[in-house]
Amino acid sequence: MSYDAWILLTGSLVGLTCGVTGALLVLRKMSMLADAISHTVLLGIVGAFFVTQSLNGLPMFIGAAIVGVLTAFFVQMLDSSGVQSDAAIGVVFTSLFALGVVLISFVGDSVHLDVEHALMGEIAFIPWDTLNFQGMNLGPKAVWMLGSVFLINILVITLFYKEIKLTTFDPQFAVLLGIPVMFIHYLLMGMISLSTVASFDSVGAILVVAMLIVPGATAYLLTDRFLVLLILSGLIGILSAITGFAFAVWSNVSIAGSIACATGLYFILAFIFSPKHGVLMKKIRNDKFSSSQP
């Protein structure tokens, strides 16, 4: 595969993985928790580096998952001690993220981990960081990572589909039926952390927020079906990756930033033109309504 094709595949996998998983958070009204977790996994990654002194995949994943779930836990703890939830999220993620950024400055120059990388990723370098097995080149590591995380997420969503749906729609009723609501919550937080850390190399901490939230919000404007919404959100993620990549190549700007902007573009389109919930269609319907009643 060519260099560009690998980047495109990586971007699409980011869009797909984050799109499907993030849509669940949008429905649970927890988008800002996704924002928080995607910032704080930086601390997990840096922490894993200090423990193992290498940028190895597995410890990074473990570190990120731990910090991600811890973030959710701290927010929950402050929340239940009476702190309003938006402020709880604000305090936790800014603190942990600041710690991550400060710790990064202690990482030597010889290691490929710096603040800029953390913020916007370096998708352009992805194709060169390949996985080799017995001298065989198996393609970029990031593609393998994203692919595995995507499969894990799909497996979890498939297995716990009805539990995820019910705890999202009516958590009290779920408690009543004896469904472990907290378990499902932390399962999702774990999925978000994994998706974030897998996407981290490519798009960075803040842009991954766009990939997590915006496709889900866009799909929410387009459909009234739960399953369709998840699939659509993933497709919008892929579409954004392709559009963003094309624009970035054409105008020589950050690929990751451009992909994230593309999610915004599709959101605006859906916001205006969605057949069911778009502003334009609502206006047309209202006009019809008022003109039929002189």
């Binding site: 009805k162 729609f169 009516d170 009543l176 004896g178 469904i179 009234d224």
Partner: protein, 250 residues
């Protein structure tokens, strides 16, 4: 045999007691209205019994066994305002959720469950709306979907939180009919209710509540002027025999 027995139930929010030492028994096969002024803790009582909110103290028994061992027997119709009706799902799907507790972890609802859900929708007169997105239902229709979901649960004790609020006459009729059916099947129903005028028509038992119970028992025994005065304080006005209108204190 008592279907439900509550002892010494206390709930506190931030050091302020909302319910204090609540204790009462509900006989099997009764239709009980939970009556009391605003802020008396009626919804809180239901939620505390169902263990949806933390309690400071209290012992709850269902058919003589601790609550958590008999949770399968409990059905619940929450207030409509408690869920997000923009959620992308259909009426049938919501009713199917009533079966999730029986299906078990990981497994999918099958043909049998779908049939049960459709049957429940038919019973509340909503069979034509099964594929409708829930935000496109009227308030009364949404309430009937919740009723159907409780029906699909196939419970023995039902809790309903203000089911008559903001619904049309057809829905109100459907709710009453369903309550009567449940009673005839020997099931027990508890309803948070605030319209004093209809209490005697709808319920054979009442629980008068104002932070702690004022009275609990058969309607003709407990639903008396004296008890009502005690429950509502000075804010009641009486018109004619047995019909009462609530007058808000200005």
């Amino acid at each position: 045999m008592n279907a439900l027995s509550v002892q010494n139930l206390t709930v506190t929010y931030d050091k302020t007691p909302v319910l204090q030492h609540v204790g009462f028994d509900i006989p099997k096969g009764s239709l009980t209205g939970i009556i009391g002024p605003n802020g008396a803790g009626k919804s809180t009582l239901i939620k505390a019994i169902l263990q949806l909110i933390p309690r400071t103290s209290g012992d709850i028994q269902v058919y003589g066994k601790p609550y958590h061992r008999k949770r399968r027997l409990i059905g619940y119709v929450p207030q409509r305002s408690e869920v997000d009706w923009d959620f992308p799902t259909s009426a049938l799907d919501v009713v199917l959720m009533g079966r999730y507790g029986h299906i078990g972890f990981i497994k999918r609802p099958g043909k049998k469950e779908i049939q049960m859900a459709q049957e429940a929708l038919r019973k509340v007169g909503m069979e034509d709306y099964q594929d409708r997105q829930i935000s496109q239902l009227s308030g009364g229709q949404q309430q009937r979907v919740f009723l159907a979901r409780a029906l699909a649960q196939d419970a023995r004790i039902y809790f309903m939180d203000e089911p008559f609020v903001g619904v049309d006459a057809a829905t109100e009729k459907a709710i009453i009919q369903l309550m009567q059916e449940w009673k005839d099947e020997g099931k027990t129903v508890l309803v948070v209710h605030h319209d004093l005028q209809t209490v005697e028509d709808y319920f054979d038992h009442v629980l008068l509540l104002n932070k702690s119970p004022v009275g609990c028992g058969p309607t003709q025994k407990v639903f008396t002027m004296e008890n009502l005065k005690q429950t509502y304080g000075g804010s009641l006005k009486f018109i004619g025999e047995h019909s009462v209108v609530l007058q808000e204190r200005v």
